[in-house]
Amino acid sequence: MKLLYFAWVRQRIGIAEEEVTPPANVATLGDLVEWLKGRGPGYAAAFANPGVIKAAVNQEFSRPDRRLSPGDEIALFPPMTGG
């Protein structure tokens, strides 16, 4: 699946996007964030407080219990501050 990172999530991880193949036990968006946390210090810093992270699956806002498919595009980002 394709992952996109924005704002300070992108900065802490150090890349804007990547292709990943998580293990089979990563079924939901919440699982994915937990799995990402273990991938390195940048990821751990980005997702230290998963409760503040917003997510979109295929450009639709999604909650942590959202189930994922291999072809999904998942964006992870902080709360929005536009306007």
């Binding site: 996109l4 924005f6 704002a7 979109a56 980002f77 902080p78 929005m80 501050t81 536009g82 306007g83």
Partner: protein
């Protein structure tokens, strides 16, 4: 209409374009957002707006449709800029046109309240101490929730 762009825009030209040939419009309420030179008591020298191309336009379009469902609007316009801006620069322009002022005022405020919390934009402010991401404000969530909790404003201007 939705426009997400790096370029600046001219408010007068935008309003003219919105109303051109639509003489049933009786009033237009607009909001123009600018880059402030202060944040939390500290000077801001520049602001960079990052966004999620594709999703930004989709979310703004959804917000526009929702406003058009709630109020009798003749035209709406949302322009949002991205990229690096300086204090005083225009960031966002929202316009709602209707036969009467109530729908225009309320829809304009609704559009601004919604885009602040639903459009995927993030602000990075630069100052003497470096760059800092702007934190989301609880008051913005409350401003949006107000429209969800009480739709009496919308009902008031909707034709029976």
């Amino acid at each position: 209409m939705i426009r997400v762009q790096a370029e600046d825009f001219d408010v007068g030209d935008e309003i003219d374009r919105l109303t051109s040939g639509r003489t049933h419009i009786g009033g237009i309420a607009t909001f123009l957002g600018l880059v402030r030179d202060m944040a939390k008591g500290r000077p801001v020298t520049a602001m960079t707006l990052e966004h999620f191309p594709g999703m930004t336009e989709k979310e703004l379009a959804k917000i526009e449709v929702e406003a058009q469902e709630r109020w009798p609007l003749d035209a709406t316009l949302i322009i949002h800029r991205y990229g690096r801006l300086a204090p005083g620069d225009r960031i966002v322009f929202v316009a709602a046109a209707s036969a009467h002022r109530e729908a225009a005022f309320e829809a304009c405020m609704f559009l601004v309240d919604y885009l602040k919390t639903r459009a995927p934009f993030w602000k990075l402010e630069e100052g003497a101490a470096g760059a800092e991401w702007v934190e989301a404000r609880e008051s913005d969530d409350l401003a949006r929730a107000r429209w969800e909790a009480d739709s009496s404003l919308a009902k008031r201007v909707r034709p029976a």
